[in-house]
């Protein structure tokens, strides 16, 4: 990640003189720190769904003030980040700034929203607050570390690398350092989780890397599910190239001991590792839980399928991986689609117009080695106010052509989210 100096940040943040102080190590804000100038939409979270929503509200009605709260200075793409583990790509190549959103007139505060007050239509930031007319919450996922004994205490000694960033680079380094003949363990949680094909793509990338660089090393995949949950046949076919990959379905990891370098499954089986990548069970981002946007399961946010408005709190919309109930995957493409549709409905609702039913679309590419990929494509429609899937197609197999399409998709959709 490029280090952005405070001076450079203030110069480019586009926050204006009065807001420049809110960046970086600015003092805590108090009170109504940004009085409203007109209709306002606040977006919490600048990932795939939130950044898209912020941009498309501005495109839909430039007269609406849009404020995006995102603590990170730069956007790092989770899609494609498994290629960092295999050394095919750098994390920097998946990293982009938020300048494009500013050019659309989105005001970006690199601050964390700490709470939401639905009754007062305010978002808390430090000791202050921002008022909104409509709020879009896109907090992504958080890990349920408490579900795996020893995981919370393990800290960075047990990596998830499931939010692209420093852990992705750290896991790549651990793979580079593993001894030839070593054992790498990849643990897949029970659904629902971000990017259903992601763990299986990761298995491909790790196995591809080990096969070339550590031919005597082995990858053991412990999957809580009884089978591969996405692109099943395609991954089975891809894995034929990886005799160093051992897949153990219905093996949920319930305990990790980083001192003994050992994981334990729900059957009580113990497995020693040289490198472990434990993808923890997941739920919606913390602010969604704190704001009582999650359902009875305490994990995910149920929304109206047309407007993405929370079924629990009026005026608050939720998009992206933190939603549940739609027959869609937690994917970047889907978050982007939800962001666009939600933005359109927000603009209409603020103008006093009824929402316009629109169905999302999805495409997910998975890389099976350094050049070949495969894809699943989903089409939907709205039926009786609900999203229903009308078609799912898979590429016939893995191919370099799909790999080229995957690169093209990434470049295009990053622009659709951010440029």
């Amino acid at each position: 990640m490029t280090v952005v100096s405070r001076r450079a940040f203030l110069r480019t943040s586009g926050l204006g003189l009065g807001l420049g102080v809110l960046g970086g190590c600015a003092p805590a804000v108090r009170g109504d720190f940004l009085p409203r100038r007109g209709p306002r939409v606040v977006v919490v979270g600048g990932g795939w769904g939130g950044a898209t929503a912020a941009k498309y509200v501005k495109l839909g009605d430039p007269g609406i003030e849009v404020i995006l709260l995102e603590p990170n200075r730069r956007f790092v793409s989770c899609p494609m980040s498994n290629l960092v583990l295999s050394g095919v790509r750098t994390l920097e190549s998946l990293t982009r700034g938020y300048g494009g959103l500013r050019a659309h007139g989105v005001r970006i505060l690199h601050r964390e929203a700490s709470a939401i007050e639905p009754d007062r239509k305010r978002v808390r930031v430090d000791e202050g607050y921002l008022e909104y007319d409509r709020l879009v919450v896109a907090p992504g996922i958080e890990f349920q570390t408490e579900q795996v004994e020893g995981l919370a205490a393990a800290g960075d000694r047990v990596l998830h690398a499931w939010k692209a960033g420093p852990q992705t680079v750290a896991l790549a380094r651990e793979l580079q350092a593993v001894r030839d003949g070593g054992v790498v363990v990849l643990s897949i949680p029970p659904p629902a989780f971000r990017c259903p094909p992601g763990p299986y793509e990761r298995a491909c990338q790790v196995a591809w890397y080990l096969k070339r660089q550590k031919p005597r090393a082995k990858l053991i995949v412990l999957d809580a599910s009884p089978n591969i949950i996405s692109k099943t046949g395609l991954f089975r076919a891809a894995w034929r190239a990886y005799p160093n990959l051992e897949y153990r379905p219905s093996n949920r990891v319930v305990r990790v001991d980083p001192d003994a370098r050992e994981v334990t499954t729900d059957f009580g089986d113990r497995l020693r590792y040289d490198v472990v990548n434990l993808i923890p069970p997941q739920r919606a981002g913390t602010i969604a839980v704190r704001a009582d946007l999650v359902g009875a399961d305490g994990r995910w946010c149920e929304v109206n399928h047309v407007t993405y408005e929370s079924v629990k709190h009026a005026g608050i919309h939720v998009v992206g991986d933190s939603t549940i109930g739609l027959p869609v995957p937690k994917s970047g493409t889907m978050a982007n689609a939800m962001g666009k549709i939600c933005a359109h409905q927000v603009v209409r609702l603020l103008a006093g117009r009824p929402p316009e039913p629109m169905a999302p679309v999805n495409v997910c590419y998975s890389w099976v080695n350094d050049v070949e990929a495969m894809a699943v494509i989903n089409a939907y429609r709205i039926q009786n106010g609900k999203v229903v899937q009308v078609e799912q197609k898979l590429t016939p197999g893995q191919s370099a052509a799909s790999g080229r399409n995957a690169l093209a998709w990434a470049r295009s959709i990053w622009d659709d989210v951010l440029a």
Partner: protein, 206 residues
């Protein structure tokens, strides 16, 4: 396009110019916005093709400025499986359901945005000669000919153009279509590296 511009040279062009200056004629490219009936319908397209159809990627075609008749034909061909593509078929069916005319009109009204991908100059140079067989249908400048069903090739990404030629060559695009038999025979006689040169040539044209 070029020929129609030439036809407008002289007094007619002057009159049209005056009318435009006086604001009596709407600009050809209307701004993309929520009032356009295609605005929300292209949400399904924008993730890959760009919001205005100005693809910056090598294998994704530029839709900005594409004549409506050709985009409509492409969508119908993808939906019917005449252009087999897992990545397009479900979307094409969706676009048919949403209203392909609005989507086609939306992209046709956007300013043409040639691919930013600059092909290898040596390939472009070789391609200029190799591309001569294309002009019979696509026109001397590659701008296409609706009467022959031939699209504008200029400014499309080289990767996309090459892929399409390879699909025609393998008879997996519009398989068995008698209208394309001669063109496919022509492509089969051209080695793949030369097809890449041809793609580079048309990608470089404006």
């Amino acid at each position: 396009m070029t020929s129609s511009h030439r036809a407008l040279a002289g007094p007619a062009a002057c009159v049209l110019g005056l009318v435009a200056v006086l604001g009596l004629v709407a600009p050809a490219a209307t701004p993309a916005g929520p009032r356009d009936p295609g605005y929300t319908k292209v949400f399904a397209c924008s993730a890959c093709h760009g919001r205005d159809g100005a693809s910056r990627s090598d294998t994704v075609p530029v839709l900005a400025g594409m004549p409506a008749w050709y985009l409509k034909k492409a969508i119908e061909d993808y939906a019917a499986g005449r252009r087999p593509a897992a990545e397009m078929e479900p979307y094409a069916k969706m676009v048919l359901g949403l209203g392909v005319d609005d989507v086609a009109a939306y992209f046709a009204a956007r300013p043409k945005a040639p691919t930013p991908i600059a092909p290898d100059p040596a390939a472009v140079e070789r391609g200029g000669t190799a591309a001569q067989p294309c002009v019979a249908c696509h026109g001397a400048e590659g701008k296409g000919d609706r009467s022959k069903g031939a699209p504008d090739l200029t400014g499309q990404p080289p990767g996309y153009l090459l892929n399409q030629m390879l699909l025609f060559k393998a008879d997996t695009r519009s398989p068995g279509d008698p209208a394309l038999t001669a063109q496919k025979a022509l492509l089969k006689a051209i080695p793949d590296p030369q097809l890449a040169d041809i793609a580079a040539w048309w990608a470089s044209r404006r």
